[in-house]
């Protein structure tokens, strides 16, 4: 047996295409692609992919990468909506590719389905669907997303009532996928804005009864690039794959600043 090296540019990374499953329809996946080594501008490329209604968009991207074009680049890790790696713009809205089902995107009976996939907007694109997340994480770190306390470490657990926990329960769900921040029109035009995700994670600690850094975080967000920049567009709330009421959280931070009361 001799190993043959396939160098064709359109070959997938896993060889020949598997048999098409029963009930599959061919749909077009239109992907916004960019290769920094050869392209100056991003461009669209379409692939015809057999898809079951129960497939996720991530399956389609896998199919393209594994069997059609191995150079397609995107992030994904757990593929089950927990790690937050595969946020992308699907048909113009920010979604996790692993949580969107093909059956929800199918065109009407008899019509051909085209699904567009783009990288999330407002962050520099490295390659294809892969963006530089550093500006996003920079804003995240800036709000000090960790427990701040004073005095000696207690020897027991820090007790919190269920009612106190309830105040920031919603914002603990964030998986830092950046779907909210990159759906925000303010962030698109001004990357110095902290963005919804950073404010959500500040909210998670500001309203935590065990934390003592609320003043500090509120001061950080009481800035021209902080919460006052929010225009309550609600794009972030629509984009959040965890269903966090992002705009509501931002408004709660505004209220805490306004009345200096947490």
């Amino acid at each position: 047996m001799t190993a043959t090296v396939e160098k064709a540019p359109t070959a997938g990374s896993r060889g020949s295409q598997p048999p098409v499953p029963e009930g599959a329809t061919t749909i077009t996946v239109k992907i916004r692609r960019f290769n920094p080594e050869t392209d100056t501008e991003p461009c669209w490329e379409s692939f015809d992919v057999p898809a079951l209604p129960t497939d996720r968009v991530l399956n389609l991207l896998h199919y393209v990468k594994w069997y059609l074009d191995g150079t397609l680049t995107f992030r994904r890790s757990c593929a089950h909506g927990i790690c937050g790696s595969d946020a992308m713009r699907i048909n113009g809205v920010n979604r996790l590719a692993c949580k969107v089902l093909v059956k929800d995107l199918l065109a009407g009976a008899g019509k051909h389905t085209t699904i567009t996939v783009e990288p999330i907007k407002g962050l520099p694109v490295h390659k294809d669907l892969l963006v530089d997340m550093e500006p996003f994480f920079e804003a995240y770190r800036a709000v000090k997303p960790f427990l701040i306390t004073s005095g000696n470490e207690p020897t027991r657990e820090r007790i919190q009532s269920a009612a106190d926990r309830e105040r920031f329960d919603d914002t603990t769900k964030c998986i830092l996928c950046a779907a909210c921040t990159t759906s925000c029109p303010v962030f698109w035009s001004e990357q110095r804005y902290f963005g919804p995700a950073a404010i959500v994670n500040a909210h998670r600690f500001i309203f935590d009864s065990r934390d003592e850094g609320a003043e500090e975080r509120l001061d950080i967000l009481n800035d021209v690039d902080g919460v006052w920049r929010c225009r309550t567009t609600f794009n972030c709330t629509d984009a959040c794959p965890r269903g966090i009421q992002v705009t509501k959280a931002i408004q709660e931070v505004k209220r805490a600043l306004l009345f200096r009361r947490v």
């Binding site: 550093e134 500006p135 770190r141 035009s189 001061d219 009481n222 800035d223 006052w228 920049r229």
Partner: protein, 141 residues
């Protein structure tokens, strides 16, 4: 962007003495609050103004110099028009400032657009206030 790629997160070492939070300016907070409150006031002021000027007995057809002079003889309407002028100008200017902050990409264009905005605002407010305070009903005589 490239410079930030490989930098390590700037986190304090454990048990570093904590600095008191830097008291930043509350300007953005107050301008945000001003937009809400002046907006509410303007709903009453502007709609009232439009109603009196355009709909109430005869509407726009009865407006002439005498009508304006008659209105401004009363301190109430002077105050109404003055507060409408100030609130509308500051409200509009603050809104445009926000728009410039959001959409002007370069610092230079941001700076000059704001200079233009502030100059126009100050001139309009000054001229309007001047007219309201120094209005002379006998100017024609």
């Amino acid at each position: 962007m490239a410079a930030t790629l490989d930098s390590t997160p700037a986190l304090d070492a454990p048990r570093t003495p904590r600095r008191a939070p830097v008291r930043r300016s509350n300007f953005e907070l107050y301008s945000w609050l001003f937009m809400r409150l002046s907006g509410l006031a303007l709903v009453v002021l502007v709609l009232g103004h439009l109603f009196i000027m355009n709909i109430l007995d005869g509407g726009v057809h009865r407006i002439n110099f005498a009508f304006v002079a008659g209105r401004w003889a009363s301190p109430f309407w002077q105050f109404w028009d003055l507060s409408m002028l100030w609130l509308a100008m500051l409200h509009g200017a603050n809104g445009l400032r926000t728009v410039i902050n959001d959409y002007a990409r370069r610092d230079a264009s941001r700076f000059w657009l704001k200079i233009l905005l502030y100059t126009a605002t100050v001139l309009t407010i000054a001229l309007g206030s001047f007219v309201i305070f120094t209005f002379d009903p006998n100017i024609g005589n």
